[in-house]
């Protein structure tokens, strides 16, 4: 890839900011991985693929800070509040896809933080 100039960089940033859509993020820092985040990430990826939900992106991210509730999964589906699910395991991950992503209903007893989605 060619080296960026000042103009290239700002044009690139502008272009990247246009990207929108729903996503799921899994906290994959040392703390999250130690608590089982990799398995959760793989499960989510697999399930999303199985259900052919192409517009939904599953991503890894760093540590949000709520170490007591790892592994953490943040879910942002357009039109729904952005929420953090804590202490997620394989079963909860499957439920997130089934109920939250497909059924548009939030899960009981698993949410640790929520914000308005833009």
């Amino acid at each position: 890839m060619k080296k960026l100039s000042v103009d290239d960089l700002s044009a690139m940033r502008k272009e990247l900011k246009k990207k929108k859509g729903s996503w799921i993020r899994v906290g994959c820092s040392t703390c999250g991985i130690a608590a089982g985040a990799k398995e959760v990430f793989d499960t989510l990826k697999e399930e999303i693929q199985k259900r052919d939900l192409k517009s939904l992106e599953v991503k890894q991210c760093g540590c949000i800070g709520m170490c007591y509730a790892e592994p953490l999964v943040e879910v942002m589906i357009e039109g729904m509040p952005k929420v953090f699910y804590g202490k997620v395991d394989k079963d909860v991950a499957l439920k997130i896809v089934e109920k939250h992503v497909c059924g548009k209903m939030l899960l009981n007893d698993r949410i640790y933080d929520a914000k308005r989605s833009r």
Binding site: M1, K2, K3, L4, S5, V6, L9, S10, M12, R13, L16, K17, K19, R25, G27, S29, T30, C31, I33, K59, Q60, C61, G62, C63, I64, G65, M66, C67, Y68, A69, L72, E74, M80, P81, G86, K87, K104, M105, L106, L107, N108, D109, R110, I111, Y112, D113, A114, R116
Partner: protein
């Protein structure tokens, strides 16, 4: 679903019936109004408020209510859910005061993808600087911001940079100190793992200002994931031409490399760190000359902590004046703390300077994790001290913590409850420093060991009254005569526990008792036969096989075999285990 309502009982842990009744009543009232298909009611695990009764959060209006009673349900439905209006007398005021500058991207971006950093205003600060900021202008912004080193000492960052800039030299260096060694502290690791590019950008700006073309990350080898992510971030930055020659089409040049630390605590000290990068043994040397004059390979060098560097891009983008509005007195901006120990919600918190310790421990941390009361908090790791519960209303700043006999340090904050023994805590930190002492200077090498011997005597019940004076005397000698920060600050945990909890030391020495029942030689467990119902739970759980007997003939505790682990005390439901 148009609306979502989150509910949480923030007073009671484990009392599920209370939540169930409230949930059922709420749901019934929604059904009465035929709203069950428009409003989803959700029980949540955490809502960010503690000890404030039922807390209700309504989306998408973002109304947060606390101390809600059953009779408030109808008006919440009518006025807030249907009417979209806020009910003022229910509004929750005790909410988390977190404010994220350093952790702005942690948990938000994919640290392995440079594009995600760029999209979150990444490399915009260096872009701004290379489009027309002189190094003096950057220094001016930093000076206005009031940013001080986050590694612990709190030296003004702009001053450090200016000194280095003013020393003429053909080569200068920037070093990122990622040798985070305090027990229980992991702020830097999280930043390196979650947002490595922000630190790279901070180092680039430092390089531009002081006139350095080369930088080093010094990261401890115990952080393999942080190393992997920084390595990846550096190579992506090279690909984009953000590192190397002619950065962003200008003649600015900057190269970065990683050096691994082998985990010696003393290598967090700047002169020892430099020796370690040079391939020498990690020994500190006397200062001056400071690294800003004679640093890496005798060239002028700036060493900044990870957290300090992660602040830099934001200071440039938002401006120094914006940054200086956050914080208090001479401590500006925010501070990241690793909140651990006996606290309900352990984790990383970032708060504006000036937030009180109580707000951190109770409003964010949720208070004590057990039934026991919070007794004290420890800040600053082995170089810091304890702050008793009475002083928790102190606002956090470099100066206020120092006044209390502790230090800000790199940001470890360990909460202790009534079951923690202060002599034991002092012993733990002192042993850490004794283990990590490099042995170069006598006050640290010999003084630390002697102090540890005195503390061990106290916790074994053979301490003498004059030991307390001896501890104070050796502490003073170490503080004055040690070569580097490790030795100078090693007595701090002892001095601060002595300052606030001298009665506990006296109990150990004179009464031969450990009030918190932690020092094994000063208390014992036994079975209170009158209360014991011979259930055998203690015997089953004892890892040392020290509880003898069976369900017919009853149980006795063999003091010889007992390791004082306290397992029997925890599992007995009848209170039939005596401790003391």
């Amino acid at each position: 679903m148009e609306k979502r309502v989150f509910i949480k009982d923030t007073n009671h842990v484990g009392k599920k019936e209370r939540t169930r009744d409230f949930y059922t009543a709420f749901l019934a009232q929604l059904r009465e109004r035929k709203l069950e298909n428009d409003v989803q009611l959700i029980r949540v695990a955490d809502i960010g408020a503690y000890n404030q009764g039922f807390v209700v959060h309504i989306y998408p209006d973002d109304f947060l209510y606390s101390n809600v009673e059953m009779q408030d349900i109808p008006r919440m439905i009518e006025e807030s859910i249907l009417g979209g209006k806020k009910i003022d007398d229910l509004v929750c005021h005790h909410i988390s005061k977190q404010f994220r500058i350093v952790l702005r991207n942690c948990g938000v971006i994919d640290p392995r993808n440079i594009d995600e950093y760029i999209v979150h205003d990444g490399y915009q600060a260096i872009e701004k600087i290379l489009s027309g900021y002189t190094p003096e202008k950057v220094l001016e912004e930093l000076k206005t911001s009031g940013l001080r080193g986050r590694g612990g000492a709190g030296y003004p960052t702009w001053l450090k940079w200016q000194f280095t800039r003013n020393v003429p030299s053909d080569q200068k260096y920037v070093i990122c100190n990622g040798d985070e060694g305090d027990p229980g502290a992991y702020m830097d690791r999280s930043v390196l793992e979650g947002d490595p590019h922000s630190v790279i950008e901070g180092m680039m700006i430092a390089g531009y200002v002081i006139g350095a073309t080369k930088g080093y990350f010094y990261i401890r080898a115990e952080y393999p994931l942080a190393i992997e992510r920084v390595k990846n971030a550096i190579s992506q930055a090279y690909q984009y031409g953000l590192l190397g020659e002619n950065i962003l089409g200008t003649d600015f040049r900057f190269d970065l490399e990683i050096r691994l630390g082998a985990g010696a605590f003393v290598c967090g000290e700047e002169t020892a760190l430099i020796a370690s990068i040079e391939g020498k043994r990690g020994y500190p040397r006397p200062r001056p000359p400071y690294p800003s004059v004679k640093g890496l390979w005798d060239k002028p060098t700036v060493i900044n902590n990870v957290e300090t560097l992660a602040n830099i891009p934001v200071v440039i983008l938002q401006g120094g004046a914006w940054f200086s509005n956050i914080g208090t007195g001479a401590s500006k901006g925010t501070k990241v703390f690793a909140l651990t120990g006996k606290v309900k919600n352990s984790g990383l918190v970032e708060v504006p300077m000036g937030t009180t310790l109580r707000e951190i421990v109770y409003d964010i941390g949720g208070g004590s994790a057990s039934q026991a009361k919070v007794k004290a908090i420890q800040t600053g790791g082995p170089s810091g001290g304890v702050i008793p519960e009475d002083f928790l209303d102190t606002p956090v700043s470099y100066e206020s913590l120092q006044k209390l006999g502790s230090i800000m340090g790199s940001g470890g904050m360990i909460v202790m409850d009534a079951n923690d023994c202060m002599v034991d805590i002092a012993k733990f930190y002192l042993r850490f420093c004794v283990d990590e002492s490099c042995g170069k200077c006598t006050p640290c090498r010999v003084g630390g060991t002697q102090m540890l011997n005195l503390l061990e005597r106290a916790s074994e019940g053979t301490g003498k009254r004059e030991d307390i004076e001896k501890l104070k005397k050796i502490s003073l000698a170490m503080q004055r005569a040690s070569l580097c920060g490790l030795g100078q600050t090693a007595p701090n945990p002892v001095l601060s526990t002595l300052r606030y909890f001298e009665d506990e030391y006296l109990a150990h020495i004179e009464e031969k008792k450990c009030p918190a029942c932690r020092c094994g030689a000063l208390f014992r467990y036994s079975i209170i036969q009158e209360k014991c119902k011979n259930c055998g739970l203690c015997a089953k759980n004892c890892p040392a096989g020290a509880i003898l007997g069976d369900r017919e003939s009853g149980y006795t505790l063999d003091q010889e075999k007992c390791t004082r682990c306290g397992r029997c005390f925890e599992v007995c439901r009848l209170g039939a285990i005596f401790r003391g």
